[in-house]
Amino acid sequence: MPRNLPGRLPIAMVAFLALFLTCGIGFSQDLKSFEQRITTKVLPNGLTILICERPEAPVFAYTTFVDAGDVNDPSGESGLAHMFEHLAFKGTSQIGTTDYAAEKVALDNIEAANDALEAEKRNPAGSDPKKIEQLQSAFNDAQKAAQKYVIPNQFTDVAERNGAHGLNASTGLDQTMYFWSMPENRLELWAWLESSRLSDAVPREFYKERSVVLEERRMRTDSNPEGRMFEQLLATAYVAHNYGRSGVGWPSEVSQITASEAMAFHRKYYIGSNIVVAVVGDVRATEAMPILEKYFSEVPGGPKPLEMTTVEPKQFAEKTVVIRDPSQPLYVEVYHRPNYQSPDDVVYDAISDIMSNGRVSRLYRDMVRDQQIAAAAGGESAAPGIKYPSLFLFYAYPLPGHTSNEMATAIHKEIDRLKTTDVTDAELAMYKTRTRADLLRGLADNQGLANALATYQTRFGDWRELFRQLDRVDKVTKADIRRVANATFVASNRTSAQIETQMPATPAKNDGGEK
């Protein structure tokens, strides 16, 4: 196992980008073969079901793609979409409870107790410690009272006991995805489980789960140098749009999110028109579609929520973030770019590929191989999302003894080359060949395919775009690359961030805590 290689990208970024990177291309003959294997249906509630037959083994994978993520969190409630995602594993009025009618009353009591506690905590005249203590105690008692009715983790237990594999979910800024694989004979059971949590969510054990989510934040962001840096970078690059806001949520906000807020988010965004469910595997559409239709019709209908008003204004000042902390140096710079619907979307992909894909890439050859100043360097075409105008990102991990300034200089030299000189025929052809091959590679995996089909169905209204994108890729020209590079990679459109290593001034106290 190769040990200790520097990671290529901050983990947070990988999570955001993975989706985008699965985008790709296809041949017409593939499109044709998929046309024969894919059936879609829009239910009366607006929910889209997509079934792709791939009977390689008696299993299937699914992805539920909800077109709402943390970018949709209301002001003051950052982290809400993610909180709801956690809630979606806690069961429904039918699963996870011994007596829902009684539990419902107990849950309402928790909300009332929490509201009273929060009101006193935020009392403008200052909170009374005695009252806080009483209210906290009442809140704890209310939780205990509700806990009596809980069968913990019954939803996931039923799934896992029926062979669920890779059971998980992810919340991005743009979307929330739920997914697992199962033996094919559990299709109907899965449809019951999945549709019921979409339509019948219950805010069970919400406040304990909030503590779990705060631990998740500590792990991914607070205690991770790259996580800390990425959060600051985005907060600096964006002045208006929610892409600049912590996805997992600012601690003061996540720690005060209420179950009522999570349920309001659910009512607004978990409606048929906002959801695509893709199933891939050993499934016959003729048999499966009526079953899925029956269950997923339970999801409430309603018009798709209005798009947000905020548009990130044009950046006019170059910005820089410098983090001085004990971790090793890292340099990142980002430039604003349009969203995935831009005709130039594939041009950004081409630039990213030529600059950073593999040992032939320009940044590798210049910074890693020839100058020997970086351990790794590259670019990513869209972060932290794709749905709204996002950021093109370059990064470099300096070798010991080299500085962020050297990284910036080297990256800018390569950017200038892109602007002033055409890329070679070989580079452009390589991008197109690799993109095509990468698309093909992704087609033999149920879960990957379910993710990709659900994503394209949501973002383009047609899964076929997964394949048709190849046509746009084929049309990218050298002139496109120069034009886009000149328009995008300018100093006034740039935000950079760097970690400068700075050890604590005083020797670390090293005794494992207070005596």
Binding site: F89, L189, W192, R218, G512, G513
Partner: protein, 491 residues
């Protein structure tokens, strides 16, 4: 933002046990989900690869898969970092990088990059702890050309001074950065506690050890390992007969493969106690309670696997239920007694919790561990574990690629080809009595080391509150790196 990988299970409290009972009692057999029919599974006979053993002991596996127009292959070579000279620790990592980047006598690594990338093809080399490997992959139309280059690289590498230096720089960067990530620190230090800091399974490459590695060392390593019992596997869109002919042409004429040398290793396990790594830039403690695991040859492995599932195998497991669901102390919880293919793996219980609840989380985890030994397993727990493991067993062989990888692994470690079937049959036979005796035999809470990586100034109450003896501080200063700055500070 995933909801988390899960490996641990909680202690079932009396209250919880009482609540769970109705779920299994006949009175509630008519839950809505229990009324949904589960038809028989479609028949499935996973396609086994064709196995060919050459006279010299080299083994070939061919797995045709015509779904996509790609062909990929791999040559697995016995011998890895556990076999390297400790004074040159890191040699196999460097070999894994520099072999490919150097290239062959005919074609240097850079030229190889240009050619392969233009075809969206790959040839890579890598080092692991018990093996090294050369692998390739290409679109069907490039099969022959890419295969020939891969064979050229396998048989005629030309290690290059500059590429070794490049690999050393990369490795040095990894060493200098190894204290940035809490998980990496915890993983590394717990291995050192379990196996010993100088053990082949615990030692770490250092700036001084990687600097000693020369091109001659890489060549010597190659010459020494290439004569071993190679396993070649090819999968994808090809014709087996034609591929077999090609492979025979390359491998049949090689000398008799040298058998893998016998290993004589002792595994005493950790010295019990509390160990602490201070990291001031975090607000969370990563706790690993570690001990020695076992080997897969052990006939108790099926019982241990079931026990692991009850302990930490999912949302309903004892550790997860207690530490995450009931107490909200952690997002990441996990654990189990792992089994290595040819040497004991580790036992571990992992909990990541905010600094202030470190002691609480450790004590709660210990309650779960103690409970494995003194709180008897129930039929319901066993049933759940069997459901969990057996109903998802299919996912171990649901693709031709997984079947092939499994067969290669079994061949490499000397297990019978039907291992998966016999293992499954043994899992089905595990009883509650087996679970109880496995826990008594293999779970030894008093023999574990408790490793905490966290922020000492925030851990209140302190680790001494655990009353587990003196806290041993672990110094993770990287030898050879100036203390005031890592590489590259600008001020």
């Amino acid at each position: 933002m995933k909801i988390g990988s899960i490996v641990c299970a909680p202690f079932v409290s009396l209250l919880l046990a009482a609540l769970m009972l109705p779920a299994a009692s006949p009175a509630q057999q008519n839950q809505p989900w229990e009324k949904i029919p589960i038809p028989p599974l479609h028949p499935f006979h996973p396609q086994q690869p064709k196995r060919i053993e050459l006279k010299n002991g080299i083994v070939l596996f061919l797995q045709e898969d015509h779904e996509l127009p790609f062909v990929s292959g791999s040559v697995l070579i016995p011998g890895g970092s556990r076999d390297e000279d400790p004074a040159k620790c890191g040699l196999v990592d460097l070999y894994g990088q520099a072999w490919r980047t150097s290239g062959s006598e005919k074609m240097n690594g850079d030229a190889m990059d240009d050619l392969l990338e233009s075809k969206a093809a790959h040839i890579e080399t890598a080092g692991d702890d018990d093996s090294t490997a050369l692998s390739w992959e290409s679109l069907k139309g490039d099969t022959d050309q890419v295969y020939d280059i891969a064979m050229d690289l396998l048989f005629h590498p030309k290690f290059n001074e500059q590429k070794l230096r490049l690999a050393q720089q990369q490795e040095a960067t990894g060493i200098v950065r190894r204290n940035d990530d809490v998980n990496e620190i915890a993983g590394r230090e717990s291995d050192k506690l379990v196996y010993g800091a100088e053990s082949p399974y615990g030692r770490q490459p250092e700036l001084a050890t990687i600097a000693k590695v020369t091109v001659a060392d890489l060549q010597a390593w190659h010459d020494r390992t290439i004569g071993g019992k190679l396993i070649i596997s090819v999968s994808g869109d090809f014709d087996s007969a034609a591929m077999e002919t090609k492979l025979r042409a390359n491998f049949e004429g090689l000398p008799q493969a040298k058998p893998n040398p016998a290993r004589h290793e002792v595994f005493p396990g950790p010295t019990p106690g509390v160990y602490f790594v201070n990291k001031e830039d975090v607000n969370q403690s990563t706790v690993e309670i570690v001990g020695l695991g076992t080997v897969r040859h052990n006939p108790d492995v099926p019982s241990i696997a079931m026990m692991n599932d009850v302990f930490a195998g999912g949302f309903a497991s004892r550790l997860f239920q207690r530490v995450r669901t009931q107490l909200g102390l952690a997002y990441e919880v996990g654990g189990g007694l792992a089994f290595g293919w040819d040497h004991p793996a580790t036992f571990g219980a992992v909990v990541v919790t905010k600094s202030g609840t470190t002691v609480d989380a450790i004590q709660q985890t210990y309650k779960v561990l103690d409970g494995l030994v003194d709180q008897p397993f129930t039929e319901e727990e066993l049933k759940r574990a069997k459901d969990n493991i057996l109903n998802s067993f299919l996912f171990r062989y649901d693709t031709k690629g997984k079947v092939l990888a499994q067969r290669v692994r079994l061949e490499f470690y000397g297990y019978p080809p039907d291992y998966l079937e016999t293992y499954k049959a043994a899992l089905e036979k595990v009883t509650v009595a087996d679970l109880n005796s496995a826990a008594k035999k293999y779970i030894h809470p008093d023999k574990y080391a408790v490793l905490v990586v966290g922020n000492g100034s925030e851990i209140k109450p302190g680790l001494d509150e655990l009353k587990m003896g003196p806290v041993h501080n672990i110094d993770i200063t990287i030898p050879g790196v100036p203390a005031a700055a890592g590489g590259g500070a600008e001020n």
